[in-house]
Structures are given as C-alpha cells and as structure tokens.
Symmetry: C2
Subunit: 382 residues, 2 copies
C-alpha cells in the first residue's frame, strides 16, 4: 500500500454564485487545484455531488465535468454520500493512489444549490424517505431532536449552541472564500428566526453554491512537485442507521465514533495528538456532539468547551478554523473537500490570519444525513 | 498492489418488480451474494445507482442500504456514472481491495425504475442538459443518430440491427433472471413500433427494476472460500465528451476504445484472447459499435458479424450470453454488476444452457449516456 500525499488545492468562493453554472464552478476549482499542484496531467478524477439530479437536473456529473475540464479520456467518477460526498470522493481517490493503479488523482466536490426549486425537499432525500420524510421531518427537525436530547441529558445550554456559530463566524471572517464574513453575537443567534425549536436561523449552515478540489499522488512522487506535501495518515468511514428512531441514543453519532476509532488506529494517534479539526457543523449542535464523539471532550462537555474557548483559534483544539459549514458555507458535495483544503493550508502555514501556530496534524470529519455516514481523514505535515 | 478475485455473486430477477421496494431489491441481491461467497462479514460496500433521487426520491443510497442489510457500521458508498454506475462501483471495490485497505468488499448495483413518474426524462439527465436535453433529444434519439451514421457510412442494415435483439432474446430465454424470456424474430423487430428512426421498440432495452451484487477479496484470501475464484485481470475506465455533437465521429465510441486499450494492456491480452463478452446493448446499434471498438471486428463489420452468427453462443466471440440489456433487462445501476455475474457464472461453468464451452477469459463493457463514460473489467478463470 503506497503512502498518499496532497500536493495542491483549489476552491471557488462559497456563496450564492448566480452568474456561474455547476460546470463553471467545478472547472474553476479544479483548474486552481491543478495549477496549485503544478501537475501537467491527472490520471483520474472523482467528484462528490449530493444531488445533481434534483438540484440542477444533471446526473452523470463525472463525465460532464471531465468534458468541461478538457480532460477526456481521463476516468471520472461521481461519488455520493449525501453531505459526506466530498469526504467520500477524497477517500476513493486515496484508494486509487494507494493501490498503485494511478499516480495523480483529482478529488473534488461541487454543488449548485441556489438554482434548486425546493432545496429543503431535495436535501431531505438524504434521510429515510419511508419512515422520516414521509412523516414530515426535514434536517432542521432531525438535528433539533438531537439538540433537545443533548440539552436535556447534559444541561447543554442555548447559549452554548450559539457560541459555536459565533466562533465559526469569527474564523470565517478571515477566510476569503467564506460565504459569510461577518462576526455575529450570542444575542443575534438567540434572537434570530426560530427554525425548529431550539434551533434558530443562525444555528443553521446556509444553502450555498461552490466547488473544491485537491490533487493527490503517492508520497514518493510528491517530492517532484512540492517541498511541503501533506501526508494522508488515515482515511476511515462508517455507517449508522439512516433514521434517528432506530438509534440507542440521540446524543451520540455512532458513525462518527466508529470512524474515529478506525482512523486513530490507522494513524496510531489519540485525540489529543490532533492539532486542528474541521468538523461537520451543519447545525451548531452537530459540532458539539461531534467534538465529543471524536474524543476531544468527554461526552456532554462539548457545549461547555466551546463556551470556554477550548475550540477557538487559540484554544486547546481549534475546530473549524475555516469558518465551518456555518460561516464558510455548505455547498453539500464540496464541503468535505473544502475541509481538506483548510487542513492543507493550515498544515503548510498558508492560512493567513486563521493560522494555528505549529499545526502539524489535522483531522477532517464529514458526515451525511443525520450521521448515517461519516468519513474521517487525518493529514500530517511532512 | 494485491491481486483481486470475485468469490460470489447474487442477483434478483430483472423486470417489473411491483411488490418490491428499492431496499427489498438491494437486500435480496446482496444477501444472495454474501451467501454464495460464504463470507461471514464484509469490510465495505459499494452501490451503483444512477438516480435514486429522480426515480424514488431517495439519495444517500449507500447509508440506506448498509442499514437495511443490517451491516452498520460498515462503510457504504454510492457511485454514479449513469448507466455505467455498476461497472464503476465494481472498479471502486477493486481499488479498495487492491490497495490492501479492506479484505472483503461487496460491489453492487440497484435501480427501481418502474415507480418513476417520468423515466425517460430522468434517464435523459445522463446527457448534457444544456446542449442536448434542452433541445429535446433523449437517448433513443441520440442512439438513432449513431445508427443512421453507421448505416450510412458502413452499409449496416436494418436487419443487422434486428439480429442483435434476436440473438440476445435467444440467450436470455435460458437466463432465469431475465426480464424477457421469449424468442423474437427479425420480422417482429422490423414491425415493432417506431421509437426514433431507425430504432424500433424491439431495438431498445426495457425499463427495469433489479439488483445485483458480487463479493471481491484478495486472491490470497479467496482460496479460503472457494476452489474456483475468478481473477480480475484488468479494470479500466475512460471518459468522452458528454454530447454527441462534440465528437469527431458518430460511428465510434472513443471511451470504449480508450478503456479497451488500457484494459488489454493491463491484462496483457489482445481482443482475440477474449472468450466471452458482456457489452452494453442499451440499443441494438450500441452492441454493434461496441463490438467493433473492443477490437472484436474491423470498424464497420459489426453488423455483418452478428448476422453471420459470429457473436452467437457458438460463434467466434459469444456476446451477451446473459441476454444482454435487451432481454435480461436494464435496471440502470445494476447492469454493470449483472455483467460481472454472467462472466463469473460462465467462467466457473455454472451458466447452464447458456454455457460457453471452455470459457476462460471474459470481458464486461458497461457505459453511461451515449458513451461519455465506459468501464471495462476483464476476468479470468483460475
């Protein structure tokens, strides 16, 4: 099994990109990554997209994007795991390079959501259609149930949820690609429109357009292209029940802890070896639960941790230095790749005002639905 | 890079499965494959599905199927390349085993199409939405253009197109899983309803429900489970322009010849070393063009070859011994995996009345759209 490196990255701004099609967005991100890596070709490409069919009426996204990128006859494969599509696409590229089948592979994600007619309904196809969606629940409702359970069981407060959004906007302010670059206050979160009790508008990641791409190659080849490749030291994935009602507990996301256990084992690391983490804060409660399930904090202590600044840029484990899904934006398929990009920039010292000092090991946690799938990739500065 | 084997297979009947949901169909196929292989666990699973979103309103198919198969927390990833989704899913499983990341991996495909409201429109999302579909073309129209060009350039006849359907129904009659198990005549094809000139109803593969699954593991592990594993000696993929209008020629499918060149090189074989082939006969003309682009016949001679019986069960290179998409059915995501199953059954001498004598090397060619993506997998009896 070959060692795998990330050698270049590129992404579009995330936001409401009214003047760009899904093809434009993908091509912009992919060309930036290719240019950044300095490669003169790619052997294969993966595209994470949740629902080209429902958002823009276009399936067969792999072939479409290879064509518009001018890359025919390069193999191009679309991968989908709902909101974890990007993390999964990265993992497939990792396997292809690790197997020795290909040398240079592009892993990417793209989503064009603002053109969609009914985005909430399209997103809801990531939940169980027969037992959840048919009965009227959508994702804000599912995560609201998780939030209520966590608040009940662990005395997590409404203010602690808000603190996640406040921190992530503070980080996103310094991310030139972020959708929302404004700071917000606890009061603004608490006074924003109620979406699904207790979650309010500013607890929710936005609907976004955006694309992101990274270039992977074997560690031995990486040295030809860069002095600062980033090594992939773990790539893990797990699944959990598609529906919340089937789970033993609402306050833990088992796919996250299962994938984390595998990733830590593969990397021979413990949670306190991780210097920075990008986690899937589709709703504020998600970041709190995930920060516990990754082992950064004891179960039930994630809310207090964010309130005490332990996950801030200067804290014990900076989380979502990019601004996270909340501030950076959440073009579903692109999110997992954008997480890898933030790790790459941090681990190579290119994160500007967001830079975490001496960041050497970073973890990206990307999940689909209400945690029915989860990928965890761990990267290390060389 | 580890050698990879197929050690077990399972599929549902293909057809109009009104009393089964997409979950039922998948689980039936997957359990049959697991049982057939005799494994007590799987490490990972892939599901090829073209459009769960448009056909049944369900994305996140990987997680859904892992759950309903009772396999949580096993990683489950959905792969999509339109009608080549199954072949692509097989290839991803191949990479994962070849890399040494996992030992036993399930590769599968499933589609539930008969519940769809507008199946032709959903299928058309595999073509370019902006330049093809917007102008009114759907897949019968695209393949009709290819047929007209081939008939004009190479004097391919209407009867030769019909001969593909007649041969495939003759084979499918002996496939217990086939959707149509009736023989048809040249006259019946020529007199069937005109769909898109020159293609008639009996030139077209049907709308189908169905699932198919195979179990892959490393060659060294395979010996623990079976005395007759089938070795994967090549897995290749290529892309071409998404739209027909961009191509230099309408009478060749470049993704097929590109993928074939790579596959033959990897396997160190030539076309005449192939004993049997399953090819993507979504329309009769497709089988003719593909049989040429795979190198079985000179360009322009594919029509005569089928008419002369060269691709029949007793011919020089039996093609679509399963009945092909035309007779066996074409539940889009499952098709590529069902091709692998036919090869496995032939190469292990389990194909009953369809058995090709001394078949040792088989090729499966699966393609998406009007050939914008193509996978070719070559298997060898051990």
């Amino acid at each position: 099994m070959k060692e795998v490196a990330v050698i270049g990255v590129g992404m579009t701004n995330f936001g409401e990109l009214w003047n760009k099609s899904i093809k434009d967005i993908f091509v912009e991100a992919a060309l930036k990554a290719i240019d950044n890596a300095g490669v003169d070709h790619i052997d294969s490409m993966y595209i994470g997209t949740m629902s080209g069919g429902l958002f823009v009426g276009q399936e067969h996204i792999g072939a479409v994007m290879a064509d518009y990128l001018g890359m025919n006859p390069v193999p191009a494969t679309r991968v989908e795991s709902a909101c974890a599509s990007g993390g999964t696409a990265f993992r497939q590229a990792y396997f292809e390079v690790a197997s020795g089948s290909s040398e240079i592979v592009l892993a990417s994600g793209v989503e064009k959501m603002t053109d969609g007619v009914d985005v909430t309904a399209a997103l809801a196809t990531a939940a169980d259609q027969e037992y959840e969606v048919y009965n009227g629940v959508t994702f804000p409702g599912l995560y609201a149930m998780i939030a209520n359970a966590h608040m009940h069981q662990y005395k997590t407060t409404r203010e602690q949820l808000a603190a996640v959004a406040v921190k992530n906007h503070r980080n996103g302010k310094n991310n030139p690609n972020a959708q929302f670059r404004n700071e917000i206050t606890i009061e603004q979160v608490l006074n924003s429109t109620l979406v699904a009790d207790p979650l309010r508008l500013l607890d929710c990641s936005p609907v976004s357009d955006g694309g992101a791409a990274v270039i992977l190659c074997s560690m031995e080849l990486a040295k030809q292209f860069t002095d600062s490749p980033v090594r992939v030291i773990a790539s893990a994935q797990a699944s959990d029940t598609i529906s919340l009602y089937e789970r033993d507990s609402l306050t833990t996301l088992k796919a996250v802890s299962d994938a984390a256990a595998k990733a830590y084992k593969q990397a021979e690391l413990k949670p306190d070896n991780i210097d920075i983490a990008e986690v899937h804060d589709c709703f504020t409660i998600a970041e709190i639960v995930v920060s516990e399930d990754l082992g950064f904090f004891e179960k039930g202590c994630g809310g207090a941790a964010v309130e005490e600044g332990k996950t801030s840029l200067e804290g014990q484990i900076p989380i979502n230095t990019s601004g996270g899904l909340k501030s950076k934006g959440h073009p579903v398929g692109a999110t997992g790749i954008a997480q890898i990009i933030e790790l790459y920039e941090q681990l190579t010292g290119q994160a500007g005002k967001r830079q975490v000092k001496d960041a050497r090991i970073g973890l990206a946690q990307n999940m689909g639905g209400s945690g029915a799938s989860c990928t965890i990739n761990i990267l290390e500065a060389v």
